[in-house]
C-alpha cells in the first residue's frame, strides 16, 4: 500500500505529464481534472497513512540510503503535499477555464503543470541532497516554461531573467552538495546530519552556499529582482502556482537544511543576518507593492514581502529553547501554508478581475465591485490573511512567531512582524480602495463564469479559516522538521 501511495505521489503526475503532452489543451483539461482528483485522493491517502503509521522512511527502488534515494514521509512533508494538492488543484481547475484554449501553445500548459506537481512532491519527500537538486531544476525549468509559454517579449525577458538567476542559484546549491559529498561521501541528509553530529565537522561554506543558492531561488531580498516580473507577467493561474508553491520549494529545502545542519554549522550571526534580510524583504516588498501600478505586480511584490517572514525561522530556531523553536517552526509552516493559499486566491481573483475589466492597471478597477463582487471579495479575504488579521492562517502564523520572538528575547522580530502586517495593509487596501471608487461610468464588464469565481473564493476561505483549525494541523506536524530517527 505504501509503495502504491508513494508511486501515486511521485509517478502519477509524471504519467499525466506524458499523457497530456500528447493531447490538445481541451482534451488535456478533462484528463488533468481527473488526474487532480487522483492526486488529491492519493495525497489524502498518504496523510491518513502517516496519521495511522507515523513518520517513516521509504527507499526508492528498494535501495535505502546511503546508496539509494530515500523518501522521508513525515508530518511536515505531508502538510506540504496536501498544500500542493490543494493549491495545484485550484490553479489547475481555474486554468482549465481561464486559459484561452484557442491559443495553440496552451496545450503545453498541462504537461508542464504535471511535471511541476511531480517535482514539488519529490522535493517535499526527498531526503537526498542531489535528488533535491534535480527536483529543484525540474521545478525551475517548468516554472520558466510556464512563464514563457506564449512567448511575448515581456514574458521572455522575465523568463530569461528568472532562468539565469535560478540556474546560478541551483549551481550554488550543487556546489554546496559537491562539497558536502566530498566531506562526508554521502548524499542522504539524515546520514549527513548524523555524521556531522558525531564528528563535529565544520561546514560553513557548503551550508552558506546551499542557503545562498536557495535564498536566490526563494527570492529573498535583495535577490528578489527576478520574481516580480516573472510572477507579474505569467498567466494568473501560473502566478498562483509560482507564488504559492514554487518559491516555497527552495525555502523548504533551506529550512530542512537549517534544522538538520544549522545547529552545528550555523552561527548566531548567520541566523541574524538571514533574519535581517527577511525583515528587509518585508519592508522593501511592501513598499514597492505600494508603488506598483499593475495589479499583478502588487501581488507579486507582496510575495517578496511575505517570503521575508519565512526567513525569521533562522534566528528563531537557533540557540533557543525547544519550545520556542517548535513555536517558530509551527509559525513558519503556517505562514507557508496560509501564504500559499492566500496568494493563490489572490492571483486567481486578480486574474478574474483583469479578465473582467480587460486591463491590468490598478486604477482600472473602479466600480468593479459592482460587477464582480465575488472575486473582489475573494481578493479581500486573501488580503486578510496576508495582513495577518484573525482568524486567518496568516494571523495564526504571526501569533506563533510573535510568541516565539518574545519568548526568545528577540523582540525586534516582533516589531518586524507587526510592521509587516501594517505595510501589507497599505497595499491591500490600496486595491480595495481602487475598487470602491464610484465615479466610473463604465458599465461594460465582461463577466467570467461563476465557476471561475468560485475557485479563488474557496482558496481564500481556506486561508481565512486556517486559523481556526491550527491545532489539528499542528498535531499532524507532531515533531516538525524531521525529529524522526534515522532508519
Amino acid at each position: 500500500m505504501t509503495t502504491w501511495l508513494m508511486a501515486g505521489l511521485l509517478f502519477t503526475p509524471l504519467a499525466w505529464a506524458a499523457i497530456t503532452l500528447l493531447l490538445s489543451f481541451r482534451n488535456g483539461r478533462w484528463v488533468s481534472w481527473l488526474g487532480m482528483l487522483v492526486q488529491v485522493l492519493v495525497s489524502v491517502g498518504v496523510w491518513l497513512l502517516v496519521v495511522d503509521r507515523g513518520e517513516f522512511y521509504h527507499g526508492l527502488g528498494g535501495w535505502d540510503a546511503p546508496l539509494g534515494i530515500e523518501l522521508r514521509v513525515d508530518g511536515l512533508a505531508i502538510i506540504f503535499v496536501l498544500l500542493t494538492a490543494t493549491v495545484a488543484t485550484a490553479c489547475g481547475w481555474h486554468a482549465g477555464m481561464y486559459l484561452d484554449s484557442d491559443k495553440p501553445w496552451q496545450k503545453h500548459f498541462w504537461p508542464l503543470f504535471w511535471f511541476l506537481w511531480a517535482a514539488l512532491n519529490s522535493v517535499w519527500l526527498s531526503g537526498d541532497l542531489f535528488n533535491l537538486y534535480v527536483g529543484l531544476e525540474v521545478i525551475t525549468l517548468t516554472a520558466v516554461g510556464l512563464v514563457a509559454v506564449g512567448g511575448q517579449a515581456d514574458a521572455l525577458r522575465a523568463a530569461l531573467r528568472y532562468l539565469l538567476v535560478a540556474l546560478v542559484g541551483s549551481m550554488a546549491y550543487l556546489l554546496g552538495v559537491a562539497l558536502v559529498y566530498g566531506e562526508f561521501g554521502v548524499l542522504s541528509l539524515a546520514v549527513v546530519r548524523e555524521l556531522q553530529a558525531e564528528n563535529g565537522v565544520g561546514m560553513t561554506l557548503p551550508l552558506a552556499l546551499m542557503l545562498g543558492g536557495l535564498a536566490v531561488k526563494s527570492a529573498l531580498f535583495p535577490m528578489h529582482g527576478w520574481l516580480p516580473p516573472a510572477h507579474g507577467v505569467a498567466k494568473s493561474p501560473v502566478s498562483g502556482l509560482m507564488s504559492g508553491l514554487v518559491v516555497k520549494a527552495s525555502f523548504y529545502i533551506a529550512a530542512r537544511l537549517w534544522l538538520e545542519l544549522g545547529h552545528e554549522a550555523g552561527s548566531l550571526a548567520l541566523a541574524q543576518v538571514l533574519g535581517v534580510l527577511g525583515s528587509a524583504a518585508v519592508v522593501w516588498g511592501s513598499w514597492l507593492a505600494l508603488r506598483q501600478k499593475k495589479l499583478k505586480q502588487v501581488v507579486a511584490y507582496s510575495s517578496v514581502a511575505q517570503i521575508g517572514y519565512l526567513f525569521l525561522l533562522f534566528p528563531l530556531t537557533l540557540s533557543v529553547s525547544e519550545a520556542v523553536s517548535l513555536q517558530a517552526q509551527q509559525g513558519v509552516t503556517l505562514q507557508v501554508v496560509s501564504h500559499a493559499l492566500a496568494k493563490g486566491a489572490m492571483f486567481l481573483a486578480a486574474g478574474n478581475l483583469i479578465l473582467s475589466v480587460r486591463s491590468g492597471e490598478v486604477d482600472a478597477l473602479a466600480g468593479v465591485g459592482r460587477f464582480l463582487p465575488f472575486s473582489l471579495f475573494s481578493f479581500g479575504l486573501a488580503g486578510v490573511s496576508l495582513m495577518g488579521l484573525p482568524p486567518s492562517g496568516g494571523f495564526a502564523a504571526k501569533w506563533l512567531l510573535l510568541q516565539a520572538s518574545l519568548a526568545s528575547g528577540q523582540w525586534w522580530w516582533a516589531l518586524v512582524l507587526l510592521a509587516g502586517g501594517l505595510l501589507s495593509a497599505l497595499y491591500v487596501f490600496r486595491i480595495y480602495q481602487a475598487s470602491f471608487v464610484q465615479d466610473s461610468d463604465l458599465d461594460e464588464f465582461y463577466h467570467p463564469p461563476r465557476s471561475l469565481e468560485l475557485v479563488p473564493m474557496i482558496l481564500a476561505l481556506l486561508a481565512l479559516g486556517l486559523g481556526l483549525v491550527v491545532d489539528p494541523m499542528l498535531t499532524l506536524l507532531g515533531r516538525p522538521f524531521g525529529e524522526g530517527s534515522v532508519p
Binding site: R161, V165, V168, G169, A172, T204, L205, L207, A208, L209, L211, G212, G213, A215, V216, P222, M223, H224, G225, W226, P229, S267, A269, L270, V273, L274, L277, W284, W287, L288, R291
Partner: protein
C-alpha cells in the same frame, strides 16, 4: 383638607408634562392655548386641599424618587399654581398666532418643572424638574425671536447652565456625604461635611442664578422683559422663587450656626436689594424696572435666608416668613408684569380704576398697609431683629430692610412713570382681562386669606396693625414718595444703564475670547493641513519612492553578485 391622593399628585405634574403632546396635531394650536389655565389646576387643588406631610414613593423612577409635601412646599405650590393659572388665562388673550404651539409646549414643560420641583423630595427628581424648568423656560424667553430676546436667551441659558452645574456639583457632594438622595437629608449632611463651605457655596450659587443673586443676576433683567408678558409674570413671580425654595430646602437652616456664610449671603442680599434699585430706576422699559425690582425684593429674602443661616434659633421663625414674603411678592410681581400688557379702557373712570388696580400691587410691594406687603414687611422686620446674630453688621439689617422698602417704592413709582408710554389703549380680548383681574384679585385678596398662623409667628389679627406699626410701615413709603417726586422733578431723564448691567462687560469679554479661539483654531487648521510638515512629508515620500524604484532596478541586475556577497558574508560569520 384631605390626605394624599396619588393620582391627583401625579396628575398635577403629568398634566403639564404630557400636555405638549397635543402639539403633534398642527391644527390644535389654538386649543392648546385655551388649555393653558387648566394645566396648573390639579396642582392648585393639591396645594389648597391636601394636608401637608404626605410622601409619595416612586421607587422605579430615576434613582428612587420620593415626592412629598410640607408647609413650606405648600406655600410655594400655592403661589406657583395660582400664578400660573392666572398667567395662563392671560396668555389665552395675549398670545398671537405665531409659534403658538412652540410657546405652549415650552409653557407646559416649564410649568411641569416648576410644579414638580416643589413637590420633589429627592435630589434626582428635584434636579430633574429644576433642569426641565430652566431649559424649557429658554423657549419662553426667546419666544419673540428678536435680537434682544436672543441675546437675553443666550445670557439666560449660559447663566442657567452655570447654575445647574454648580448645583449638580453641590448635590453630588452632598449626596455622597449623606449617602442618601433625599432632600431632607441634605442639611444634616452639610453640617457633617468636611468641605462644608464649598458645598454651601456651590448650592447657594446654583440656586442663586435663579434667585437673582448679585453677579449671577445678569440674565434676569434681560430675560424677564423680553419674554411674552405672561411668561415674564411667571418667570419673575414663580420661577425666581424656585431658587429661593432651593435654598430653603438644602441649606442647613436651623441646624448650623454659620455666621460667616450667613452674613455673606445677607450681604449679597443687601447689595441686591439696594443695587438693583439704583440700576432699576434708571431703566426705561417698565418690565426692566420690574425685573430689577424682583432682584431687589429677592435681595430682601436673601438677607432673611442669610440671617437664618447664621442663627439657627431664628430659622424656624424665618422660614415661614420668607415663604410668606415669597408668596406675596410672587403674586404682586406677577400681576405687575401682566399689567404691562393690559390695554387701558377708553372710559376715564374705568381708566382711573385700572390705574389704581395697577398701582395697588405695586404699593403692596412697598408695604402699603392693608396689603399683603404690609404683613410681609412687618413679619420680616420682626424676623430681622439684630439680637442673637453673630456678625458685625447685623445691627444695620433693619435699616437696610427699610432702605429696601424705600427703594421698592421708588421702583414702583418709576414703573408707573414709564408705564404709560408703553401701555396701549383699546380693546383687548376678554380672557386677557379675565386673567389680569384674577391675578390682581388674588394679589389683593391674598392678604385676607394668608395662613398667618404658621408657627404662631405673627400675632393675629395682624390686619389691624397698631399705630406704631402703621407708622413703621408708612414712613418709608412717604420717604420714598418724597424722594421720587423730588427726583422726578430734578431729573427729567434718568441716566440710562443698560439692561443686564454687568453682562455687557462679560459679553465684550466673551466676544474677544471667541475671536481669539477662532484665530487659534484657524491657525491650527492651517498648520494641520497644508502646513510645511505635510508638504515635507509628501516630498520625502515621493523621494523615497523614486529612490526605491531606482534601487530595485539595480538590484534586479545584480542578483547573482549579491548572492555571492551574501554567501561570503554568511561564511565569514
Amino acid at each position: 383638607m384631605m390626605a394624599l391622593f396619588p393620582p391627583l399628585v401625579l396628575a398635577s405634574v403629568l398634566l403639564p408634562l404630557l400636555f405638549p403632546l397635543l402639539a403633534l396635531r398642527p391644527d390644535w394650536a389654538r386649543l392648546m392655548t385655551y388649555a393653558l389655565p387648566l394645566l396648573p389646576l390639579p396642582a392648585l387643588f393639591v396645594a389648597i386641599f391636601s394636608t401637608p406631610g404626605w410622601e409619595l414613593e416612586l421607587p422605579a423612577l430615576l434613582m428612587g424618587s420620593v415626592w412629598q409635601m410640607d408647609e413650606l412646599r405648600q406655600l410655594f405650590l400655592l403661589l406657583t399654581a395660582g400664578l400660573w393659572t392666572t398667567a395662563g388665562c392671560f396668555a389665552i388673550g395675549y398670545m398671537g398666532p405665531e409659534h403658538l404651539r412652540r410657546f405652549c409646549v415650552c409653557w407646559g414643560f416649564t410649568l411641569a418643572g416648576n410644579l414638580g420641583l416643589i413637590m420633589a423630595g429627592d435630589i434626582a427628581s428635584f434636579y430633574s424638574f429644576f433642569a426641565l424648568m430652566t431649559f424649557a423656560a429658554y423657549g419662553l424667553v426667546v419666544h419673540e425671536g428678536t435680537d434682544n430676546s436672543r441675546r437675553a436667551g443666550r445670557v439666560y441659558i449660559t447663566m442657567g447652565m452655570l447654575g445647574e452645574m454648580a448645583m449638580l456639583a453641590g448635590f453630588i457632594m452632598v449626596a455622597q456625604q449623606a449617602g442618601s438622595l433625599l432632600m431632607a437629608d441634605i442639611p444634616a449632611a452639610i453640617v457633617n461635611a468636611d468641605n462644608q463651605d464649598l458645598i454651601v457655596t456651590l448650592l447657594v450659587a446654583g440656586f442663586g442664578v435663579k434667585a437673582g443673586l448679585p453677579l449671577l443676576h445678569f440674565w434676569l433683567p434681560l430675560a424677564h422683559p423680553v419674554a411674552p408678558t405672561p411668561a415674564s409674570a411667571v418667570l419673575s413671580g414663580a420661577m425666581i422663587k424656585a431658587g429661593l425654595l432651593g435654598w430653603l430646602l438644602v441649606l442647613p437652616l436651623g441646624e448650623l450656626a454659620s455666621p460667616g456664610a450667613g452674613s455673606t449671603l445677607a450681604l449679597f442680599g443687601a447689595v441686591a436689594g439696594l443695587g438693583a434699585a439704583v440700576v432699576g430706576v434708571c431703566q426705561r422699559d417698565p418690565k426692566a424696572v420690574l425685573a430689577y425690582s424682583s432682584i431687589s425684593q429677592m435681595g430682601l429674602m436673601t438677607i432673611m435666608t442669610g440671617v437664618a443661616l447664621s442663627d439657627p434659633q431664628r430659622a424656624p421663625v424665618l422660614l415661614p416668613v420668607i415663604a410668606l414674603y415669597a408668596l406675596h411678592h410672587g403674586f404682586a410681581k406677577g400681576v405687575l408684569f401682566l399689567s404691562t400688557a393690559v390695554a387701558l379702557p377708553s372710559g376715564r373712570w374705568a381708566r382711573g380704576l385700572v390705574w389704581l388696580l395697577i398701582a395697588l400691587p405695586g404699593l403692596s410691594l412697598a408695604g402699603l398697609p392693608f396689603t399683603s406687603g404690609a404683613l410681609a414687611k412687618l413679619a420680616s422686620k420682626e424676623a430681622l431683629a439684630s439680637e442673637g446674630l453673630g456678625f458685625a453688621w447685623a445691627g444695620h439689617l433693619s435699616m437696610v430692610s427699610t432702605a429696601i422698602s424705600v427703594a421698592t417704592l421708588l421702583l414702583v413709582l418709576r414703573f408707573l412713570y414709564v408705564l404709560p408710554a408703553k401701555v396701549k389703549t383699546g380693546g383687548r380680548p376678554n380672557v386677557l382681562w379675565l386673567g389680569w383681574s384674577a391675578a390682581t384679585a388674588t394679589s389683593l385678596v391674598l392678604f385676607w386669606v394668608m395662613p398667618w398662623q404658621v408657627d404662631g409667628l405673627v400675632k393675629a389679627p395682624v390686619w389691624l396693625p397698631s399705630g406704631a406699626k402703621l407708622w413703621q410701615l408708612s414712613w418709608p413709603l412717604l420717604t420714598g414718595l418724597a424722594i421720587g417726586l423730588v427726583a422726578g422733578r430734578l431729573v427729567s431723564r434718568a441716566p440710562a444703564i443698560p439692561q443686564g448691567d454687568g453682562v455687557v462687560v462679560l459679553e465684550l469679554l466673551a466676544g474677544s475670547v471667541k475671536k481669539g479661539a477662532g484665530g487659534v483654531a484657524r491657525l491650527g487648521t492651517r498648520l494641520g493641513s497644508g502646513g510645511m510638515a505635510a508638504r515635507l512629508m509628501l516630498h520625502t515620500r515621493a523621494a523615497i519612492g523614486l529612490w526605491a524604484d531606482e534601487q530595485e532596478r539595480h538590484l534586479r541586475h545584480r542578483t547573482v553578485l549579491v548572492m555571492v556577497v551574501i554567501v561570503l558574508i554568511l561564511t565569514w560569520l
